[in-house]
């Protein structure tokens, strides 16, 4: 078979892609395949993060066969994705998946990120309370250090600030 891109060299890569039931076939020679690069999974450069991730997900050493069986029927009630489907594709279906697969997520996130808890930015609107809580935590740390250094005037200011924020949380 001849490469469909250049119509010149013999095709070395044969690839069938099915998206939403629509089937597309590629027959490419090596140099055209390389030019197409990432768009073709399985091509030399097309090894995607999702392949890798589902590899990680398949590998769950501590799980006995029984537990595995049970896990496979865990399903996100919102979008219908099952945990075993998630393991195959390496992607969540909706934001509720994070709740429904919550028990399984900690070990996975630890393997990918080394931790499972967010400490970064908090959105202003949806995260108002969370933001105050974090601010209070930071202020309390600062307060302790002021007290340790006997800077009581500064400490009093921080204490008022903390009260202020606590007030805001109870009002929200």
């Amino acid at each position: 078979m001849i490469c469909q891109e250049c119509g010149n060299k013999p095709a070395a890569l044969h690839f069938t892609k099915i998206v939403n039931g629509e089937k597309t076939e590629f027959h490419l020679c090596e140099s055209c395949a390389r030019e197409k690069g990432d768009s073709i999974p399985g091509a030399p450069n097309g090894f995607s993060i999702h392949n890798l991730l589902s590899g990680i997900l398949e590998f769950e050493p501590s799980m006995g066969q029984n537990v595995k069986q049970q896990k496979n029927v865990i399903r996100c009630e919102n979008c219908g994705l099952t945990y075993s489907q998630f393991r195959k594709i390496g992607r969540f279906g909706c934001s509720s998946c994070y709740n429904h697969f919550s028990d399984q997520l900690n070990p996975l996130l630890k393997r990918v990120h080394g931790t499972s808890v967010h400490v970064g930015k908090i959105p202003k609107k949806s995260g108002g309370k969370i933001k105050y809580k974090r601010q209070i935590k930071d202020l309390k740390k600062e307060l302790q250090s002021k007290i340790d250094h006997e800077e009581f005037e500064e400490a009093a200011k921080l204490r008022d600030e903390i009260r202020n924020l606590e007030q805001k949380i109870s009002e929200a």
Partner: protein
């Protein structure tokens, strides 16, 4: 319709600007992944859901605060042909994934193309800010500002413990990908590159070649980005990347200076040989073009070649890719035809 403008200008306006360390750092980029709370992620959403997402996110274009930053234009993928979307991919304004796989996908572009917001890619929203040179902090500040504007109008999927919820677990938390594109010819020539890249990957950063996956790099261009998005704050992530890149820049500079003092003839031969080939060759495949352009660029940065500007090189690196060449010819070309046109385009730009 200014789609033509986005496509005709090979070099985005932002690329013509100056940035710190631009002899080594080509560009700095921040990407934020965000999703809306009521909708399934694009992979599983129904046609109606993705249409609604498209509409809701697109509405933000009219926001006054956003207009203060720049004028924006929204371009649905359905209004582009495959060649046009390929060009936007080659300019790094949209991802291959958005160009090929998305349903009801669209991109919102700022006037100078420094900001691009993808809708219905792997996540509902992907905010991207691209700056020339080493300006990763500046890119983050802008992306953060745009993120706030979108968040004020939309309901983001956010969880106190997990952070910003994303389709892929590798993005959850901050949803941030900070990356820097580096030109490292001297580290490659002196065979130090593998040692350095191995070290980089050990501190939680990823290294890629110019167009995504696979670390075999074209034209000595390397992209370094953070891998971890959870458990570190955005500023920690950026600071980590910043300090590592700063060290790589120093190593590259040292290697360049050393080559210049110890093997100047070799260096002169190499950059001028490539300059000569680019000036006269009639057939040029993309691999050779990338390598020769890298040599000439090194020559320019070291002051060994003075009659070509670094911007011409930046431009050629993008313009000589398949999508651009075909857009330029306004028809589909076979690889052989492309190699001829590529050689012609380079000859013309480099000798003028």
């Amino acid at each position: 319709m200014s789609l033509e403008r986005f496509i005709d200008d090979a070099l985005s306006e932002w690329m013509k600007g100056e940035g710190a360390d631009s002899d080594i750092v080509i560009s700095s980029r921040i990407r934020l992944a965000r999703n809306l709370t009521q909708y399934s992620f694009p992979m599983l959403s129904t046609n109606q859901q993705s249409e609604e997402v498209l509409e809701k996110v697109s509405d933000v274009v009219h926001d006054e605060d956003l207009k203060m930053i720049s004028n924006f234009e929204r371009i649905p993928l359905s209004e582009m042909n495959s060649l046009e979307s390929k060009v936007l991919v080659e300019k790094h304004l949209i991802s291959p994934n958005l160009a090929e796989e998305s349903r009801n996908g669209a991109v919102i572009l700022s006037e100078n193309e420094s900001i691009s917001i993808m809708i219905n890619e792997e996540d509902h929203i992907r905010i991207q800010c691209l700056f020339p040179g080493f300006q990763i902090n500046e890119a983050w500040e802008l992306a953060n500002q745009i993120d706030d504007i979108f968040e004020a109008k939309l309901n983001y999927a956010f969880d106190e413990k997990r952070g910003y919820l994303t389709s892929c677990p590798t993005n959850v938390g901050t949803g941030i990908r900070a990356s820097v594109m580096l030109h490292l010819p001297a580290l490659v020539l002196t065979q130090q590159i593998n040692r350095i890249l191995t070290a980089v990957s050990q501190v939680g950063l990823a290294v890629r070649g110019l167009y995504g996956e696979g670390s075999d790099s074209l034209g000595n261009l390397f992209q370094i980005s953070n891998q971890i998005t959870l458990g570190q704050s955005e500023s920690e992530i950026i600071h980590n990347l910043y300090s590592v890149v700063k060290q790589i820049i120093e190593h590259e500079r040292t290697a360049r200076a050393k080559m210049l003092s110890e093997s100047k003839t070799f260096l002169l031969d190499r950059v001028n040989r490539s300059y000569g080939i680019l000036s006269y060759a009639q057939i040029m495949d993309s691999n050779e073009a990338a390598q020769r352009l890298s040599d000439v660029r090194l020559g320019i940065d070291l002051g060994l070649i003075s009659n070509v500007s670094a911007n011409v090189l930046n431009e050629l690196m993008i313009m000589t890719q398949p999508g651009f060449l075909q857009q330029y010819a306004s028809k589909k070309l076979s690889p052989d035809e492309r190699d001829v046109l590529r050689a012609e385009m380079i000859r013309e730009r480099i000798t003028n």
